[in-house]
């Protein structure tokens, strides 16, 4: 079964899994007033950003090297290992990623996933499948998204970002996401020489086929993706100890996702601990699936679940067992990581303790 043996992450809490874990345990969002660009004309003014204006490709190169070092990959092993990436594609992205793979000593860029907020989970799913099938001994997966003026303006002018500056997933009174810087890299291997962080036990992907930017109220797309991930692994809903939800604090999407979780994990759905950590590290768009895989790895490793921050009170449309206070342990040894994107795509990872 595919295992995650190396892991590196960068969020507004800082670089490394320890900085992210400390941030999650603090229960304080990494949100600050945006200084990277002028937000005067916008409704929202906050985001979870790193200092300055970091270069995405330079940071991805650093994170890939860090993850490979952690997995103790030799130079020869790296030269046989492909890279799968999840980023927003621009005019020269393919060339830049090809140079990045070469600089990291990797064999090639195999695939670049671009399906919005589902991109990174799709990238991990491809890597896991290649390793599970024996097509590759190992794959490096990297993903990144840093907040910029155009992205911020497009979301804010569409009326999506939280004017309050606080993301409140699944909560009464939620009014939208807060964007966040995020980048990560992992090594997915069939074997390996180090103790793994995680096993990638299953994965699922589905198109909802309902509306390009509105969710089906019963969450048919994410429910189908969860069902596919469980079916692939042969794991029943009673073995799900935690759900790291996509929930961006958007009223309709959170309700649809809650319905999907309850439906796909029936009859255990109401009793499975759920949180969306986007309230803490921000919404990292194309990088979400990989940053949140790291969150799940840390939660299973430490035996404590990160809270669903910003919660003001229950919403009847989100009747989930939310993790609202520190100190809760996973209910079982598997975690689900959910992400959905524009166009109605849902990508789900089923992750397990090694």
């Amino acid at each position: 079964m595919p295992r995650v043996t190396g892991l590196a992450v960068l969020t507004a809490y800082g670089s490394g899994p320890e900085a992210l874990w400390d941030g999650l345990l603090s229960e304080k969002p990494a949100t600050t007033a945006v200084t990277r660009f002028d937000t005067t004309r916008h409704r929202a003014h906050d985001a979870c950003t790193l200092p300055g204006t970091p270069d995405l490709f330079a940071e991805l190169e650093r994170l890939v090297a860090e993850a490979c070092d952690q997995a103790r990959l030799s130079r020869a092993e790296r030269s046989r290992t492909p890279l799968i990436v999840a980023v927003h594609a621009g005019a020269d992205t393919a060339d830049r990623l090809t140079r990045l793979a070469a600089a990291c000593g990797l064999r090639e860029v195999l695939t670049v996933h671009t399906a919005a907020c589902a991109a990174a989970a799709s990238a991990v799913a491809e890597a896991a499948q290649l390793v599970a099938d024996g097509a590759e001994d190992r794959v490096v997966v990297a993903a990144g998204s840093f907040v910029d003026a155009s992205m911020f303006a497009a979301f804010d002018d569409a009326g999506i970002l939280a004017p309050s500056g606080a993301a409140r997933p699944f909560s009464a009174g939620r009014d939208g996401p807060v964007l966040g810087d995020g980048a990560a890299a992992v090594v997915v291997e069939r074997t390996g020489t180090v103790r793994p962080w995680l096993r990638v036990a299953g994965w699922g992907n589905a198109a909802e086929g309902y509306h390009v930017c509105r969710p089906h109220p019963e969450g048919t797309g994410p429910a189908a993706a969860i069902a596919a991930a469980l079916r692939r692994a042969g794991v029943g809903p009673e073995r799900i100890g935690y759900v790291n939800a996509h929930a961006t604090a958007t009223p309709a999407f959170d309700a649809g996702e809650a319905a999907a979780i309850l439906r796909a994990l029936a009859p255990h759905g109401p009793h499975v601990p759920v949180s969306s950590t986007k309230a803490l590290h921000g919404h990292c768009l194309e990088a979400s699936g990989l940053v949140e895989l790291v969150v799940c790895a840390l939660a299973l490793h430490h035996g404590e679940l990160p809270v669903n921050a910003g919660h003001l009170g229950p919403d009847d449309d989100c009747a989930l067992d939310l993790v609202l206070d520190r100190g809760r342990a996973p209910r079982a040894d598997h975690a689900l990581s959910l992400n959905t994107g524009f166009g109605g795509v849902s990508a789900v990872l089923l992750l397990a303790k090694p």
């Binding site: 004309r41 927003h88 594609a89 621009g90 005019a91 020269d92 992205t93 393919a94 990623l97 090809t98 090639e108 860029v109 195999l110 695939t111 670049v112 996933h113 671009t114 399906a115 919005a116 589902a118 991109a119 799709s122 491809e126 499948q129 290649l130 099938d133 003026a149 155009s150 303006a153 497009a154 979301f155 002018d157 569409a158 009326g159 999506i160 992907n205 589905a206 198109a207 909802e208 086929g209 309902y210 509306h211 390009v212 930017c213 048919t220 797309g221 189908a224 596919a228 994107g341 524009f342 166009g343 109605g344 795509v345």
Partner: protein, 166 residues
């Protein structure tokens, strides 16, 4: 895995080089989505006739896109609005990610299998077929609509409905 081609659609059509794709409501800022949708509609129409496909077939049909670059025209429209201090039109946010165009196709045709969009490293036809073959080999779909797009003007797109086996 060996794949078989059940139908194919291309834009521009044979004999009409440079012909712009038919406009698509809500995808006006760029030819990226209209291009891929024009090829895909022809491919699906050749196999299924008019939309939608039967629900069970739709559930077992995946959507795959491989493009040689991102939708730089939509990104430029957003960047231009920001530079001028003007509001970004709402549809540009959704149009700026390729999954929206495939999602639109899924809605029209009732296709709810896996949806994967990629940036091709090298040939987009090869990249789209490789992803499709992986989905078919895993048993995640019986058919894959695999669309390869080069949006560089004047733009070309090839859509193939693929299935496993010989």
């Amino acid at each position: 895995m060996h794949v078989t081609v059940r139908s194919e659609g291309r834009w521009p059509p044979p004999g009409s080089p440079g012909e712009p794709p038919p406009p698509v409501p809500r995808f006006e800022a760029s030819a990226f989505a209209p291009l891929l949708l024009a090829a895909a509609e022809r491919c699906l129409g050749a196999h299924y006739g008019a939309p939608p496909v039967p629900p069970e077939a739709g559930r077992r049909t995946a959507l795959v896109l491989a493009a040689t670059r991102g939708d730089v025209a939509t990104q430029a429209a957003i960047d231009d609005a920001v530079a001028r201090g003007r509001p970004v039109a709402r549809q540009l946010l959704f149009q700026n990610v390729p999954s929206t165009a495939l999602g639109h196709l899924g809605i029209v045709w009732g296709l709810t299998g896996p949806l994967v969009t990629t940036l091709a490293i090298g040939s987009p036809e090869h990249a789209a077929e490789a992803t499709a073959a992986r989905i078919l080999a895993a048993g995640d779909a019986d058919h894959v609509l695999a669309v390869a797009v080069d949006p560089t003007a004047p733009g070309t797109a090839t859509a193939r409905l693929l299935a496993g086996g010989r």
